[in-house]
Amino acid sequence: MTGSRVGDSPNRVGGIDRVTGAQQYLADLPVADALHAKLVTLDCARARILGIDASEALALPGVHLVMTADDLPTPMPRYGPQNQDRPVLAVGETKYHGDPVALVVADTRELAEAAARLVRVEHEELPAVFTVAGALAPDAPLVQDPSLRPGDRLAGGNVLTEHRVGWGDVDAEAARAHVIVEGRYTFPMVTHFAIEPHAFMAAPDGDGLAVWSTIQHPNWLQKLIAGLVRMPLSKVRVYAPDPGGGFGGKQHTKHEPAVVFAALKVGRAVRLVLTLEESFQAARRTACESRVRTGFDRDGRILFQDIEADYLIGAYADIADRVVGKGSYPAAGPYTIPAVRILARSILSHTVPSTAFRGFGNPQINWAVESTLDEGAKALGMDRLQIRLRNLARKGDRFIPFDTPCDGDWEQTVRLAAERIGWGTPLPAGRGRGIALGIKSGPTTGLSYSIVRLLVDGSVVVYAGTSDMGQGARTVLAQIASQELGAPLDWVTVVMGDTAVVPYDQQTSASRSTVLMGNSVLAACRDIQGKLRTMAARLHAVDEADVVVDAGLVRLPDGRRLTPVEVLKPGFGKLGGELTGLGEARKDADPGHPLGGAPAFFEFNCTVIEAEVDRETGDVTIDRHITVSDVGKAINPLQVRMQDEGAAIMGLGHTLMEHYIFDERGRIRNLGAIDYRIPTSMDLPRELHSEAVENADGPGPYGAKGMSEGALLCVAPAVAAAVREATGAQIRDLPLTPERVWRAINEAADAAERGEAGS
């Protein structure tokens, strides 16, 4: 593809290495003398550790270390992005299937694996809770010891936090509602399944420490490790090679602390590359069981939403409680509603710690709320598109009081999606359509620094702490620099993933990077433009105020247009030199806001599905999948399409096939790729169409908003609605496996035969 400016779709920066095999992911890095590590885990959800005998493992030649809790400081160092609840290694008790009790370090990976099998862990399996009901049962074992939750009134139970949001008087609205519908919905545990499993490495580095991780937030990891090993930040250097897919699963620290302690003990580099199975045990999406009650007036206006959502988080909080709080906050949807009451609870369980996952906590609740809206439309005899348009917030509406107002022409997005599918046109028998809207709050706080260097030949180096895990941040940031400083894209280098070189960035999450880091790089470029202006004014003896630098050109008052090089070369003279720009984009916290800040933008999406159902087998075929997102401005339209379509297909995964399956003792039965199914090239919609609405009304560079999660928010409710229209079967549990759809069709048919109202 041609062009390198904003709005073009140049080839991915770093793309060539990705098609030649030269791109080095963490497991590929050649590190001389690195030792290999392997986790020791127990085949149970929860167990009391009675003793660990590592003598046989240590007797193998080439085994350097079997590190257990006993080898670590007392009290056991704990960490976590929200609560410091996660031990470096299990101490006393394992809390979930996969919770490591030891780390083996050996000369080869094979040896480490063999030694790990020889570590004898005497243990007693204990009862575990791995469902909402189990965790809330009166006699449920406590997942976290109350000593980890000092001063917490909920510490006597497995509810970690209750998040309440609301406005208006729900009970009063309910009293005057014409129709009230209520439904219970479940969303299972699913996992990121990045094709690159998580990997970590650590090594002593002079008088400091070097840490490599597939992490999305290198600066956060740096701070966490520095705290654990009591070193200054300047002595902890985190390398974060581009992850091979993140999707949120690589945001936060997983087993890096164990690897760091091991590397310090053996005094050498130690690398731990997880298997896919271990990655399933390292990160997953928060499951959710929700009850939604929605009331309407005669005309289909939503009068109230009463939402209770029980999110099942894991044994340690990771970032899951934020997932719950932030994900449930806009649960009532992009609608203007007089009264809303939301209660979301984070519930601890003896399961894999859940974490961020594309869409955060929104897809779980959007599944329930959008489906309930359809139930309301049905009860009212209203069209499902019309009921949404009737209630949809218009630009500037404070649809969530005291929050960021509606920041886009959302109606335009909805109408475009509906038009593309031909909403309202007749359908062949056996097919149905479904529509769903979704919003997700963008980042509520943020801080991104960047450095941009304009070199004397006009080429550019950008230093940005964003992680490019496939979303294309490197390309977008290079395009911004290219746009502002005039260098062609292949003259721009973007340096990322090294905390010793790249300035601080808070994190790569919440689809923030185009907006926050984009603004930061833009500011750095503008800083350079100011210096160019000064230099040009000096060289040409004109008033600085009369020099304009724009779109990579320097314009003098006499109309002459100079390239940056035509200013830099004479400006620097024989000594050479470069211009350096500093960028900062900041979104400060608002302590008065329930989320700590109002979102920088909303991701808004409308998805419309046309599906065909085989009534005899329950197979769902997606004939048409239309996804439209409000992106403000597509800095790289091809990448926008790739992200939206990728999110859409990922959404089809959790909608149709993905879920953890547990045995009766809380062990995951379908660990690994054989029985955890994700979409292949044969599981796509017959027609997948994505479009972006661009009104340049976002807070990012050139009016961009964050995007890449929106297209996932609506898939499940839209598909289930299409299935219902095709078959009459209302399904409230995911995934919509053939068996589940078949069962629902039969139940609906039985109910119809008994003359019951359609359930």
Binding site: M1, S9, N11, R12, G14, G15, I16, D17, R18, V19, T20, G21, A22, Q23, Q24, Y25, A27, D28, P30, E110, H192, F193, A194, I195, E196, P197, D242, P243, G244, G245, G246, F247, V273, T275, L276, M469, G470, Q471, G472, L638, Q639, R641, M642, Q643, E645, G646, A647, A648, I649, M650, G672, A673, I674, I678, P679, T680, S681, M682, L684, L688
Partner: protein
């Protein structure tokens, strides 16, 4: 202690002699002994295709091939697709069509597409979907990968 077995393979046109442990896979040997890390490790059960390489003209999951089995065979890995630094039309099409996001699955995707186009110079949609089903892409660039395959097919050679 079980002795290593000497094998000879031709990798990307070059003869390579290497002593391998019987329990090491072709993936292990490519990555660890021959420093060809383009083949990636993910599922290790032949489901994801990240480790795909071409052995004697056919794609295999190199995680499910013992290195000793490959003795005497001709192997093409992603590192061998470009010709002295010049990208193949398929590699160019992958970039042009936006088929590459995180890139981790791409070596395997390219090799599957390479053989697909050898066997079906003008593949149908069904042939593409079936031919590429052994290579998972979680970024889900499937449509763009299809576009790249079609573009390459339309452009003649690979």
């Amino acid at each position: 202690m079980i002795a290593n077995v000497p094998i000879e393979v031709t990798v990307n046109g070059a003869r390579r002699a290497v002593d391998v442990a019987p329990n090491h896979t072709l993936l292990d040997v490519l990555r660890d002994d021959l420093a060809l890390t383009g083949a990636k490790e993910c599922c290790l059960v032949g489901e994801c295709g990240a480790c795909t390489v071409i052995v004697d003209g056919r794609t295999v999951d190199s995680c499910l091939v013992l290195a000793v089995e490959a003795d005497g065979s001709e192997i093409l890995t992603v590192e061998g697709l470009a010709d002295r630094g010049v990208l193949s039309p398929l590699q160019i099409a992958f970039l042009d069509e936006g088929a590459v996001q995180c890139g981790f699955c791409i070596p395997g995707q390219l090799l599957s597409a390479h053989v697909l186009l050898e066997e079906h110079p003008h593949p149908t949609q069904a042939e593409i979907e079936e031919g590429m089903a052994g290579n998972l892409c979680r970024c889900a660039c499937y449509e763009q990968i299809f576009d790249a395959i079609r573009t390459t097919a339309d452009g003649g050679d690979r």
